[in-house]
């Protein structure tokens, strides 16, 4: 029997000890009418070999593409050591560290995780992870509302990741919390101070600032933060952790810093994996410690005064506080936080900076070169980081389909999310992309746009032969 060790002899002697005639008897408290006949949609068992072959065929069916989609999930190099360590049985098959003395491995690691995340975001403290970035934003909003006490409305710019806004809404609306959109500036793509003016004097619990925003556009975080604080709101900074190798940490925004920093942890060691498992991180100022949801690990001492680690502030949590808990969250994403910790330890300061710089340089190169193609333009004038919106005179879906036929995932079609932008494509080239990869993207884009464009025949402003980009070797 797969995964069940009982021999016939075991079964008989166990039943004898219980005083039951058969295993069937052990179910005798279940009303007969409720007993199920059979499972009709569950096929017969496959052994590991057959299941593996099936999964292999499914995986091969999906193939592998040269990926230029970002939009909240980013392809980064993950050191081999990360999952070779995180996949060790002692991490992989352990539970939440309730028995601290027998879980010092996970506990110390999570304490190191908290330290890294708090430092990365410039905040005082961190929890030990949440489900993902999108739901993490909802937790941050709930936290801000609890901390603010009076207001139940939160300002959320339209340039914040649209799915994150949907998820946050789904998770907070039942508690009567409202998300109020702030329009983005159509020219710059950023959330400008003028748009906020109209909200002055009203009671809001918080302003959410995503940096860079969903378009990859850089927000004026200092200005926005100070404005919000002046209005008595908390500031929730939503950030990409890789960007923090280069961009100012939320804790340093404006004169006082953001109050809560939240984000999608996926870029730190989680494979893209069709969307999960990822993890959310949530950091905040010390004063908000007891408002934080999720697991938190603290350092303490044992009976001999020796340092050790344990879960702490459990009084906030649902298993103690039940209906009065800060959240219903129970499971965190421990294994992903484990991978992230190893990932960050392997990158170090220098590695993280270089990854951030390489992602930005690649996307910048892609954007600059793309704009040399007749008919291709950037949509927004503002500075961007690591991700950019471009436009052309063709339906985005058609362009993406043509790219896909060449083995390229060309970016995210923004049409369903921001129809006002026209044919807008959100594109991103992380450090995993070589110059050759980017060239492949550009050549395909040029071919597709020139063939299908209704405008004048495409002429590259700088023909390939004169453009130094096309002469460099693979970097």
């Amino acid at each position: 029997m797969p995964f069940i060790p009982h021999t016939e002899e075991d079964i008989q002697s166990m039943l004898a000890s219980i005083g039951a005639a058969s295993i069937e008897d052990l179910f005798d408290e279940i009303p007969v009418a409720l007993r199920a006949d059979r499972l009709e949609s569950v096929p017969p068992a496959l052994n590991e070999m057959a299941a593996g072959r099936l999964m292999q065929e499914r995986a091969e069916q999906d193939g592998r593409y040269l990926n230029f989609i970002g939009a909240g999930a980013y392809e980064h190099h993950i050191p081999a050591a990360v999952w070779q360590i995180a996949g060790r049985g002692e991490f992989y098959s352990a539970y939440t560290p309730y028995q601290a003395e027998a879980s010092q491995g996970t506990l110390q690691l999570l304490y190191e995780f908290q330290t890294m995340m708090a430092s990365l975001t410039g905040m005082d403290i961190s929890n030990a992870s949440l489900y993902d970035g999108a739901s993490g934003l909802a937790e941050a909003v709930l936290m801000a509302v609890r901390a603010h006490k009076s207001a139940r409305r939160v300002l959320v710019p339209a340039a914040v990741h649209p799915i994150w806004r949907q998820v946050t809404d789904a998770l907070v609306k039942n508690q009567g919390i409202e998300l109020i959109p702030v329009p983005y500036d159509a020219r710059s793509g950023s959330t400008v101070a003028e748009s906020l003016k109209s909200f002055e004097g009203e009671d809001f619990a918080a302003l959410v600032i995503q940096q860079p925003n969903f378009f990859g556009v850089l927000e004026e975080v200092d200005e926005l933060t100070d404005w919000a604080h002046a209005q008595g709101m908390l500031v929730i900074g939503a950030v990409n952790p890789i960007s923090l190798g280069m961009l100012k940490a939320p804790g340093q925004w404006g004169s006082k810093g953001a109050d809560i920093a939240v984000g999608e942890g996926q870029p730190l060691g989680a494979p893209l994996s069709s969307g999960g498992p990822y993890f959310g991180f949530l950091c905040c100022k010390q004063a908000l410690a007891r408002q934080m949801p999720g697991r938190i690990v603290g350092r303490t001492v044992d009976m001999d005064g020796k340092p050790g680690f344990c879960l702490t502030l459990q009084a906030r949590e649902q298993h103690i506080r039940r209906a009065k808990a800060t959240s219903n969250i129970c499971t965190n994403q421990g294994l992903m936080a484990t991978a992230a910790t190893v990932h960050l330890a392997l990158l170090g300061q220098e590695g993280l900076e270089r990854v951030a710089a390489a992602c930005h340089a690649n996307t910048r190169m892609l954007a600059e070169q793309a704009c040399l193609i007749a008919g291709v333009e950037r949509v927004f004038s503002n500075l961007f980081f690591h991700e950019v919106v471009i436009t052309f005179d063709l339906p985005v879906a058609d362009v993406l389909r043509a790219m896909e036929a060449q083995g390229i995932m060309g970016g995210l079609d923004l049409t369903p999310w921001y129809p006002e932008l026209g044919n807008a494509l959100l594109v991103c080239a992380t450090e995993t992309k070589t110059q050759e990869d980017i060239r492949k993207f550009l050549e395909n884009l040029e071919r597709i746009v020139s063939r299908r464009s209704s405008g004048p025949a495409c002429t590259r402003l700088k023909p390939a032969a004169d453009n130094p980009f096309y002469q460099n070797g693979n970097k």
């Binding site: 068992a45 050191p79 002692e90 421990g334 993280l352």
Partner: protein, 481 residues
């Protein structure tokens, strides 16, 4: 030693960094980071060595019997892990076209179908990322249902006092007031109390079955009828589904919604606290409210059902589609079990629990509900031992670590004093259960002969008993150089 203490300024691990650090001269200073984050500067080997050694300080299923009640710590097949980590699965972007995801979507769709079958529900959404999010989704659907009928008076959610803490917390997350229902002597929900509480304000009832007391609710059909007659809906907390997998289908009992913990019943790894996965199944009337996305199979193609198809959906609960990697592991596990294997899960989880209960009873331990069958878990109360020797349930738990066993769940459910909630799962052998009984018996003897030994346990772990009061009072949550 912390990883930060291994760090030295200027140490670089260049095999893991891009070759160059291109200038980002377009980004102005006021948007750039001024300080360096506190990330360790260590060699690859030192990082590998540090975390490998840390890992060895953990108990885990792969190293120890781990009878943590309510957590279903069964073997996580390594094959499922390998299958879910095939390179193409790992490399696929969540926003890649559906055409390039037919393989993964096929797995998810078949998992949905299997879960529909085992739960007996009309439809399943795999998107909730953990049990608690599944609960949230279930309660939110109940709320959306009442709202859709303009039935605004239903503001109360009924929750038995033996429920997991997530139940009331999830109800509150959905804006409900929680009304607790007491438990009767036999460990069943008190039917009279339920009748007395239910009414026009009742939005629904959240029921865990088998309950956290380790027994099957005898009057489960009556209970859901009482609530339904009052216009409320019924929520089935499937955290303990392992006990009844393939033997009882909650949908057959008339429940409206259920969540399932794949990291319990479907044996995906707990990972030191996650990721989990908490799919929800619903009856026909809640179908329009399912959280999105859901996988549909139409004209030979798989596609994601979104808000366009389900305009009344409670919405999205995650950035993309939940914990796909966990779902793939559960799918692989389900395929390796097959229909017969699923039934055997319930059979042997139940056999192991009842055997352990019988043996511990014979060894002199007090069983909380000796008159009942154990489901997949059961409760021992050490109230008597505490009174006689001063040795508490926590002391016994800590001493078990010294004997090479992870402790059962302690002090939960709160209804039973000095309790241990013990769940052996079906993947443990009789030999292991016998060794566990022998260890507990030894501890019982020690508690009488040398209570100090037990009260100061553990003695063989990397640390002795930790001061968690100090941890909460003098918060030390991040390391400072």
């Amino acid at each position: 030693m912390l990883i930060f203490e291994l760090s030295r300024p200027g140490r670089k691990n260049l095999a893991q960094a891009p070759a160059a650090k291109p200038e980002a001269n377009d980004i102005p200073a006021h948007l750039r980071r001024g300080d360096k984050p506190l990330l360790p500067e260590v060699s690859e080997m030192d990082a590998v060595r540090h975390y490998t050694r840390l890992s060895q300080k953990n108990f885990s299923i792969d190293t120890h019997f781990y009878p943590l009640g309510s957590c279903t710590m069964k073997y996580n097949p390594r094959g499922a892990n390998q299958h879910a980590m095939l390179p193409q699965f790992l490399a696929r972007h969540p926003l890649a076209s559906e055409a390039t995801g037919q393989g993964v979507l096929a797995c998810l769709h078949e998992l949905q179908e299997m879960l529909k079958d085992v739960t007996g529900m009309a439809a399943v959404s795999l998107t909730p990322m953990a049990g608690a999010q599944g609960e949230f989704a279930g309660v939110a659907m109940i709320r959306a249902y009442h709202v859709s009928r303009n039935d605004a008076a239903r503001t109360e959610m009924l929750v038995p006092d033996a429920a997991h803490g997530t139940n009331p917390a999830s109800a509150v997350m959905c804006g409900y007031t929680v009304r607790e229902i007491p438990t009767d002597r036999d460990g069943n929900v008190d039917l009279e109390a339920l009748r007395a509480t239910v009414g026009p304000n009742t939005a629904g009832l959240m029921l865990t079955n088998p309950s956290t007391l380790g027994v099957f609710e005898k009057n489960i059909s009556e209970m859901q009828q009482i609530v339904h007659q009052a216009g409320g809906l019924t929520y089935y907390d499937g955290a303990n589904l392992n006990a009844i997998l393939g033997r009882v289908k909650p949908g057959d009992m008339g429940f409206d919604v259920i969540h399932v913990n794949l990291h319990k019943t479907f044996s995906t790894p707990h990972g030191g606290g996650g990721p989990g996965s908490g799919p929800v199944g619903v009856s026909e009337r809640l179908l329009p409210f399912l959280p999105i996305p859901v996988v549909a199979f139409e004209s030979g193609r798989y596609r994601l059902v979104t808000e366009k198809d389900l305009p009344q959906s409670i919405g999205r609960l995650s950035g993309f589609m939940g914990n796909i990697g966990v779902l793939l592991r559960a799918y692989s596990y389900a395929r390796m079990l097959g229909a017969e294997g699923m039934r055997r899960v319930a059979d042997f989880a139940t056999l192991n629990a009842n055997y352990l209960m019988a043996e511990l009873s014979k060894a002199g331990f007090d069983i909380a509900f000796p008159q009942r069958r154990a489901s997949h878990e059961f409760i021992v109360t050490l109230k008597g031992l505490k009174e006689q020797t001063g040795v508490s349930a926590m002391d016994v738990a800590k001493r078990l670590l010294d004997k090479g066993f992870h402790a059962p769940t302690t002090y939960f459910p709160m209804l039973v004093p000095e309790c241990l909630l013990i769940e052996p799962t079906e993947t443990e052998s009789k030999q292991t259960l016998d060794a566990f009984v022998a260890a507990l018996k030894e501890i019982l003897d020690e508690a009488h002969a040398n209570p100090e030994l037990v009260k100061t346990a553990p003695h063989t772990m990397p640390v002795r008993r930790l001061d968690d009061v100090k941890a909460a009072r003098e918060l030390d949550l991040v390391w400072k150089a």
